[in-house]
Symmetry: C2
Amino acid sequence: MRQPATTDVAREQACTACALAPFCQATRAAPLPGAAVERGRMLAPGEVLFREGQPQAALYALRAGCLAASVADGCGGAHIVRFLLPGDVAGLDAHGGARHRSSARSVGASEVCELRAWHVDVLCAMRPALGAHLDACVARELDDAQRHAAALARLDATQRVARFLLRMARRGGGGAGGIALPMGRRELGEHLGLTMETTSRLLTGFKARGWIGLPPHGVVIRDAAALERAACQPHDP
Amino acid sequence: MRQPATTDVAREQACTACALAPFCQATRAAPLPGAAVERGRMLAPGEVLFREGQPQAALYALRAGCLAASVADGCGGAHIVRFLLPGDVAGLDAHGGARHRSSARSVGASEVCELRAWHVDVLCAMRPALGAHLDACVARELDDAQRHAAALARLDATQRVARFLLRMARRGGGGAGGIALPMGRRELGEHLGLTMETTSRLLTGFKARGWIGLPPHGVVIRDAAALERAACQPHDP
DNA sequence: CGCGATCTTGAACACGGTCAACTGACGTGG
DNA sequence: CCACGTCAGTTGACCGTGTTCAAGATCGCG
């Protein structure tokens, strides 16, 4: 739960559940033509993987660390649409088009595998199942985005933070005992539509009630049932 | 601008810009095998086209009227993710999966064309360009959803309403002079993350400043520049 | 040790929600 | 034809949540 767990163990865990596994030599029984996935590119903290409007160069599978996907709000600000954890794919926002519609930035240090865009096209043309797999990934992102919008529109701050923690836990954000929270309070707020201050207050509030623990750069969930309750009923003191 | 303009003229306008045109006999030079699109199914006001969790039966192209796409918020409420206008496609949320992840309800009376799901698969397998076309439609929906989330998270009520009006105008929600607003204030609020009252206040506020006119079931934009300004700078009296 | 960034905590304010009353359009039935 | 009911929209007064501004705590790092 310290800084990004870039051990070999963590990387291999990510690979078995990686969304690009069907494209990857390392995890396939039947080999694919050509060396599909280029592995192990490192990203420095804050480094930008791609930016809104840029032509799509590749798909990226996150092996270790954490990425933030964001879109500009047209008024000088940006909203973090989602956080990517090991095993997730970045760059699918350009699927069916040629240009990225969102940006991706590394939170802390990260490691990604690259699958060149032209390679994606070639492989999907040869194996229709691969194209369908990507379609399913995009559909899941669409569903995510719509549910996120629904949460922003209808839930109060407490519900949003509680849901976020439960979701991170369900996604296995760190496995043993605690969830890793590599992003700062400000970035958390930029994702949940809250200010840094409100986010901080709510987290310490949860901690004060014994629902969570707050080690540095992480969270441990102590009372999931209480969080589930808070995630649904509005206006709970 | 009265009730849904279900004239033949309006229908044909929708057809030329329809997102399912590549699948439709009526608009293609080169015919497709089989009668692909079944045209002209009528929907009563409030009628549900499909619901979250149901298996996907078809894609639907809206010919006339207006649909509301919504997702449940998990707490007994629902959020309207977007409004569909003539020429838009409904049902793409199940692309790459088998079940709908959102619901679609008719606002007022509507008319849709159906393209059976199995037919979509067959045609996409035969003509890869058709599959790519649908991918592009899904990508646009994803982008829409993410920008909508950004607006809900970072913009105040005035900015959201102003943007909504400009967007509707840009989408050609009714052509000559005025935009059709078939949905009620409540539904408008359910889309913008506001209450009926706030939505009403802001619209009448815009009208009082001469920025818009408010005929029944519609809006006319009188000062687009002022709305653009309001859409960006926050907290304007 | 001291500087800077991140996080926490406090107090006052304002935006938008809530509750409530009122208006006007429409449709039904006496 | 008007009385009546309903429903969508409008308007007003009040209040609460989350923001804003500001000060202090905590930690990492040179």
